[in-house]
């Protein structure tokens, strides 16, 4: 048993000693570094460690939560008291009950030793290579706003009075840049990024080249004419939409009537070309773990398949309320947050067409490479959306001039029903949570420009 598990055990005991009928403690320790480079120099170098504990206390069917950074004997006792007091202030909820222990299958390979093996100068070089690759790609590439490398290695331990006990370690690394291109009297930005479990899994040249290519592609962008037309969503945009859909499939939103998918189980909600899974154990998935934020085993859940809505995502609370079992879908933003139902890794099924074939299939339309304003332009209850976008015109089945300052609008279920084909090459994208998706061809969407 690690020192983290020992802290978790102590916190559980202190909380029941403070009067709680049940308790659960989640302890995490995170070590990481972030390198930001600009103009061939290191702009900042951060080294960080954070350790904390979050305790859920039950008083019968009342729940409260407390978190803190003081893991000393006295600190944990004080925190246990606060968790117990918080529970006393909550209302009774018959479905609030501690998760029961279950057999957890190990999930090796989540931690990449290259994080420890690569010293600071080596990851600084990686970030500098990202920036340099972009800058050297084209004379119109006038700068890089920032190029970043970051990694972290997290250890998690959980324990509860109901007998839940587990721990794991997982690492992640990413790099990105925002490249600046100039031409035709305007500046354009382009994002390039890569995700892996450690620095050795990142390709700095590819990341730099992607940012440069995205910025250069936007030079001379004008406003498209308003129309309804076929649209191809690139992987980053498809991922953002998949994230919105995943949010609507969480049982809490569904049970409280705040989802466009509420009451539609087994109904047709998409075309057959669109299938969506939540897979908390995908070996490639950045969010993979052996168990979720309340110790329930992670698993793969079919959400939308054959055009029909197959399942929602449940944590223990929403499962109790539904009379079903958890899909291992409790998540937290670290020890500071209560667990709540959320996606792990969303996986959009791949199709068979290359990007060129998708564009050819679209014929005349718009290729959307960026969307903005998702947090304000989407009604999560109804699924009605109108978001800012930029991309390229598709003419005669091929990419033509760049376009910006337009909106794409519609409704999520209508959009899914209009998905005509999925691309053959999926990619992991850190937007909309953690999503693997290919580009998607949507038969018709409303474009509003000039």
């Amino acid at each position: 048993m690690s020192d983290l598990s020992a802290v978790a055990r102590r916190a559980v005991e202190a909380t029941t000693a403070a009067g709680a009928s049940d308790a659960e403690a989640y302890v995490s320790r995170d070590g990481g570094r972030t390198v930001r480079v600009h103009g061939g120099e290191v702009e900042s170098l951060e080294a960080a460690t954070q350790t904390g504990v979050g305790v859920r206390a039950w008083h019968g069917h009342r729940v409260g939560y407390a978190y803190g950074t003081d893991l000393s004997e006295a600190g944990v006792i004080e925190l246990a008291g606060r968790a117990s007091e918080a529970a006393a202030a909550a209302d009774e909820d018959e479905f609030a009950a501690p998760p029961q222990p279950a057999e957890v299958e190990a999930l090796p390979g989540l931690s990449d030793p290259s994080i420890a093996e690569w010293d600071t100068s080596r990851v600084v070089d990686l970030a500098l290579t990202v920036e340099r690759t972009a800058l050297e790609s084209d004379p119109r590439l006038v700068g890089v706003e920032v190029a970043v490398y970051a990694d972290s290695d997290e250890q998690v331990a959980i324990a509860s009075s109901a007998g839940v006990a587990g721990e794991y370690e997982a690492s992640s690394a990413y790099a990105y840049l925002s490249a600046l291109a100039e031409g035709k009297g305007a500046r354009e930005t382009g994002l390039g990024f890569g995700l892996a479990r450690g620095p050795r899994g990142l390709d700095p040249e590819a990341i730099g080249a992607e940012g440069a290519q995205r910025a250069l592609a936007m030079i001379g962008a004008g406003k498209p004419a308003s129309r309804s037309c076929p649209v191809v969503l690139d992987e980053t945009v498809a991922a953002s939409f998949a994230g919105l859909i995943g949010g609507g499939l969480g049982a809490k939103a569904v049970q409280r009537g705040r989802s466009p998918f509420a009451g539609r189980l087994e109904e047709e909600v998409a075309s057959e070309a669109f299938a969506l899974y939540d897979d908390g154990r995908d070996p490639e998935g950045p969010a993979s773990a052996p168990f979720d934020a309340e110790g329930v085993p992670r698993r793969r859940t079919a959400l939308i398949e054959g055009g029909r809505l197959r399942s929602y995502l449940f944590d223990t609370y929403t499962a109790n309320r539904e009379g079903t079992s958890s899909t291992g879908s409790a998540s937290r933003q670290g020890y500071r947050s209560l667990p709540s139902v959320s996606t792990s890794n969303l996986v959009v099924a791949r199709g068979s067409l290359s990007l060129e074939q998708l564009l050819a299939e679209a014929g005349e339309g718009v290729y959307v490479t960026d969307v903005a304003g998702l947090h304000s332009g989407v009604n999560p209850v109804t699924g009605v959306f109108s978001v800012g976008a930029s991309g390229r015109i598709i003419r005669d089945g091929a990419l033509a001039e760049p376009v910006r300052e337009f909106t794409i609008a519609g409704e999520l279920v209508a959009m899914l029903s209009a998905v005509k084909a999925a691309g053959a090459e999926p990619r992991w994208v850190p937007f909309g949570g953690s999503v693997s998706t290919p580009p998607l061809l949507v038969a018709e969407m409303a474009i509003s420009g000039s």
């Binding site: 600009h38 900042s44 951060e46 007091e85 600071t120 600046l180 209560l338 609008a409």
Partner: protein, 461 residues
């Protein structure tokens, strides 16, 4: 005020941070405490309380910043952070300036929220729930959140600064869902300030009724139109338009990297002469106000646009040093785990002399955006987008039907220059602003403002 670390120890940490050289070193210690709870389906839930302590140490050498942060305020931990921040440097030891304690008066808090019983906060949430539901049976759901947060900070740097602040913010937010037949609409409203529980003593329930009224109004909404047209923007949170389309582009880090459309525009006419705008971190009790910024610099009122002319950028310590100017007190950080960067505090367009009625009466066909769900900008290109949470058509000089699903898009410089009327009905609202992965509380404000032409992206077919 309580010092989280004493002066002598702060000096020791700074000395260690400069052990391998460096131009500037800083230690930032923080204690964060908070409580929050919510009501949903008429039940009090998610009652939680947090207590975190920690410190961040940074050393600056040339154009590079070395930063390390640790949890806890134990001496050994802070010394470890100083050593880590200094680890990559290879130059001669430098001695920090002797520290000089500065007198700071934190913003006044009348009633400490942590002294108010949790049951009283739960009662408040029940009242919000009742008040929203009192607007009729079409209000089918109400959720409300209460949150209080106290941040005590002590900051010391190698230029001899030793300062601190004690900040308490309190906020409530209400969201309602209204349903009629198959139509579902949401409404939201918030109330927040750099104040204690006294903020909530004067009829906080009215925000619940306002949220409910918004969602009920939208039940009659038609899909929003699309196209270019005059847009009248509401007061208060309407100021988020200026926050996004100008405020971010004036933050000096964007300027110095050439990633802002306002580069080289200082002193130039960027708006019509009727426009005056400020960033003011000293507005009493305001959500985005603090006595000092997170680098220990006193906050100030900075005029950024005077008579339509661009007059100032917003600086933190490092960007000010680079431009050879004084910091404008805009160095802010989400917590001890983050580096300070130039951020807005309370940003607003000063009151003008039009009335909302006048500016609407002059519009034949246009859009009235009363409030936004939020917005986003790419400062480098100037492209922005805003989701309208409450909007109406303007037809023949009158506000007619409510619209759903409207988004405003455009480019900063064009839209700023197109502001042709500023209202006298000024007020402020609260927001949470995200930049570089850091969230900080900001105020936005204005009276009604009219933009002569803007693109509305609606869902009307």
């Amino acid at each position: 005020m309580t010092e989280l670390i004493d002066q002598a120890f702060a000096e020791r940490v700074l000395s260690r941070a400069l052990a391998n050289g460096g131009r500037f070193a800083e230690v930032f210690a923080e204690s964060r405490r908070g409580q929050s709870m919510s009501i949903d389906e008429r039940r009090i839930e998610a009652v939680q309380s947090g207590a975190e302590e920690g410190a961040g140490v940074r050393v600056v050498d040339g154009n590079t910043t070395y930063f390390a942060h640790v949890d806890g305020l134990e001496s050994a931990e802070l010394e470890r952070a100083a050593d880590e921040a200094a680890a990559a440097l290879r130059a001669e030891r430098r001695a920090p300036q002797p520290l000089q304690a500065r007198e700071v008066t934190p913003l006044p808090i009348e009633r400490r929220p942590e002294d108010v019983a949790a049951e009283r906060k739960a009662e408040l949430l029940r009242e919000l729930d009742e008040r929203a539901r009192s607007r009729g049976d079409e209000i089918v759901q109400v959720t409300a959140v209460y949150a209080e947060a106290r941040r005590q900070i002590t900051v010391a740097n190698s230029d001899g600064l030793f300062s601190g602040d004690d900040r308490t913010r309190t906020r409530i937010a209400v969201q309602t869902v209204a349903r009629r037949d198959g139509t579902v609409e949401t409404g939201a409203e918030t109330l927040g300030a750099h104040r204690g529980f006294e903020l909530l003593e004067d009829d906080p329930g009215q925000i619940a009724e306002q949220a409910a009224a918004k969602s009920l109004t939208l039940l009659d909404a038609v899909p929003a139109p699309s196209g270019s047209m005059p847009v009248v923007v509401g007061g208060g949170f309407g100021g988020v338009l200026f926050h996004e389309m100008t405020g971010h582009g004036l933050e000096a880090d964007h300027i110095q990297k050439g990633a802002s459309v306002y580069v080289g525009k200082l002193g130039e006419q960027v708006a019509q002469p009727l426009l005056n705008a400020y960033d003011d971190g000293r507005l009493p009790s305001e959500w985005g106000s603090d006595a000092i910024d997170d680098e220990g610099q006193p906050t100030q009122k900075t005029q950024v646009i005077e008579g339509g002319r661009l007059t100032s950028y917003l600086y933190d310590h490092l960007t000010a040093e680079r431009d050879g100017v004084a910091s404008t007190g805009n160095g802010r950080r989400e917590s001890f785990r983050h580096l300070p960067i130039p951020r807005m505090t309370n940003t607003y367009i000063a009151p003008g002399d039009s009335t909302p009625e006048e500016m609407i009466a002059e519009v034949q066909r246009g859009f009235y955006a009363v409030s936004f769900g939020g917005g986003q900008v790419d400062p480098a290109t100037g492209d922005f987008v805003f989701g309208v949470s409450e909007g109406y058509l303007i037809e023949g000089g009158k506000v007619t039907r409510p619209c759903r699903g409207a988004t405003l898009i455009g480019n900063c410089l064009d839209a700023l220059a197109a502001i042709d009327a500023v209202g006298d009905d000024f007020f402020m609202k609260t927001g949470i602003c995200g930049k570089g992965g850091q969230k900080v509380p900001v105020g936005t404000g204005q009276g009604h403002v009219r933009v002569a032409t803007m693109t509305v992206g609606g869902t009307e077919r």
